[in-house]
Symmetry: C2
Subunit: 120 residues, 2 copies
């Protein structure tokens, strides 16, 4: 039950679009990711996804709704089945809460599809 | 999918130890609470509980482990069944991630037992 500092955790890696598993809680994963530029359009069929911005700014684009623009200290929940594209402008540190095992690119497999590494 | 600002949300209420529901995600609730001083010893039989400190400092005491002292920007997960007592020194704004329906005082009912109100 050691405290985890978001700032220290983000300082421990550099890779972008490569989520780190920081903790698990009731079958949900707390993942940290560095974002840089545009990610791929995707959706998660059976997983809601919470995005919390720790630093920088993240725009989440939707096919049929206005963009959500998240500043540091802001979060939103993307409901399951909602196609979305995260875009960092230009960089952001983001925290994700989603079911353990959720793939970062959801229903698509691309060069950005990444295994989740456990945070050191 | 409107962004929710932790700072604005905490500014919208004053009551302590009275969690506000900010969002739900995969059956988990995101709750905001203002903490002030000692809470009651309790546990949640079937719910892990994530504590994230937004402002101030929160000490979580355990019966059989060292205290966890969380500063702003730090979090920890208290596993289900673990008796704990949150203590704010002297005040803290805390974010909880736990299953929807989790009672704030867990297995005990006290004056501090509170219904969760939805954030305005």
């Amino acid at each position: 039950m050691e405290p985890i500092s978001f700032t220290e955790a983000f300082d421990s890696f550099d890779e972008t679009w490569s989520p780190r598993l920081a903790a698990e809680c009731n079958g949900q994963a707390v993942k940290l990711a560095k974002a840089d530029g545009e990610f791929v359009w995707h959706s998660h069929e059976s997983a809601d996804e919470l995005f919390l911005v720790h630093a920088g700014r993240l725009r989440i684009e939707f096919r049929e709704a206005a963009d959500a623009v998240l500043e540091a200290g802001e979060f939103t929940v993307v409901p399951r089945g909602t196609e979305h594209r995260p875009v960092a402008e230009p960089e952001a540190e983001i925290v994700l809460f989603e079911p353990s095992g959720t793939r970062n690119t959801g229903d698509v497999e691309t060069d950005e599809t990444a295994e989740v590494e456990r945070l050191d």
